[in-house]
Amino acid sequence: MSIWEYANPVKFMRLSGAVLPWLVPLAAICLLGGLIWGYSTPPDYRQGASVKIMFLHVPSAMMAINIWIMMLVASLIWIIRRHHVSALAAKAAAPIGAVMTLIALVTGAAWGQPTWGTWWEWDPRLTSFLVLFLFYLGYIALWEAVENPDSAADLTGVLCLVGSVFALLSRYAAHFWTQGLHQGSSLSVAPGERMSAVYRYPLYVCMIGFFLLFLILLLVRTRTEIRIRRTAALQAREARP
């Protein structure tokens, strides 16, 4: 019994089918609960009510980066061990990551307008997120452009590897280029630097909710991809004389 067993599409389908009905209500509770809890927090003494965008902004930004890392790991597994589910999971994750990046950018703009007085600033964090968004777009476009599914998985895998290095590099390059408005980190472990518990706990719940949401979408999309593959295989078999 090892984790590689679930690289078998049949086992993966069975496990994900069993887990999904449990995940959905759990994610709904976390998301709705976290957002409502976050919405009912008192306004910040400097930022006012606008601080509540944080409960969408921070989790989506966190997921935007983590989904790319997940795609990197999935691509590596595909390149090294040739498990098809892994490649399909990477493919399924990319649009979710792109949307998360977009949510982070849009909520960030909506938050920046009242607090910094500007919708957009060429700040290192903001700029590197825009570049990350471009990487997601390129990755998705490459999946769409290549017809042979195995070649597509290989090519996007290589692109993901190279892209990861450069996404990281862009982040530090942007830091060097200009000093920004964006605060350093939102969830520092050091006491005194971190925000008060009133905001922190609902934020944790929202983060868990976003993660579960990603997991659900990922499983559903991967299942769809597997079914598309099966349909294609069936059609190919029927078309054969």
Binding site: V158, F166, A173, A174, F176, W177
Partner: protein
């Protein structure tokens, strides 16, 4: 590898279109910018470092699909893949030929274009050095993008989407070096970063590009 390099150079020069195209594009860009932002020398001088680097980047992008596409069409890329030299070496040679035909002319012509855009004279050495160090990275990364998109229909458009995000760090450090030169500041740090990017792409990208080519030729 030398033979391949010379062959690509000869093709670029004799077949026409490849060699001067980047330069002509750069010249057009430098002509269009003053129409767009106004001919005020102060403003032009201030934005010149960025415009020059963005121009170099776009001029480079313009000729990228020529690296592998023509050889893919007439089948010589398959021959290269089965040739006794490693495919990584072939990629490096082809990227080198691309640099010699687009990157190097840009470096040589850059002071002239800087003059057109009112770039302060003291920034010209920095412009030359940063382009000289940075354009090899552009050619290598471009070869990677070209290798990924080689047998695709409408690969050209996809190529720019894939390659431009990869160009971001090079652009940032390059433009920063020129800007520091224009302000009379020391530009060693961005130049060192740029050299690091170029050297690591030289060392690693041939493997990634060759892997992509092998997938596409399979």
């Amino acid at each position: 590898m030398t033979a391949l390099l010379l062959r690509d150079l000869r093709l670029a020069i004799r077949a026409g279109g490849g060699f001067g195209l980047g330069l002509a594009f750069f010249l057009i860009l430098c002509t269009l910018v003053p129409f767009g932002v106004g001919s005020d020398g102060d403003i032009l001088g201030r934005i010149a470092p960025g415009i020059l680097w963005v121009g170099a980047l776009l001029a480079c992008l313009l000729s990228l699909d020529r690296i592998f596409a023509l050889d893919h069409e007439d089948g010589s890329l398959d021959l290269l893949a089965t040739a006794p030299i490693p495919l990584e070496g072939a990629v490096a040679a082809k990227a080198g030929a691309h640099w010699l035909t687009t990157g190097l002319p840009l470096v040589v012509a850059a002071p002239l274009f800087g003059l057109l855009l009112h770039l302060p004279l003291q920034a010209v050495p920095n412009l030359l050095i940063s382009l000289l160090i940075g354009t090899p990275a552009l050619s290598m990364l471009g070869a990677f993008g070209a290798a990924i998109t080689v047998g695709l229909r409408r690969g050209g458009l996809l190529l720019s989407l894939l390659v431009l995000p990869l160009y971001v760090p090079t652009l940032i450090f390059g433009a920063e070096a020129v800007r520091r030169g224009a302000a009379g500041m020391d530009a060693t740090t961005p130049l060192i970063f740029q050299a690091a990017i170029s050297l690591s792409t030289l060392a690693l990208i041939p493997f990634a590009a060759a892997a992509a080519l092998r997938i596409n030729l399979r």
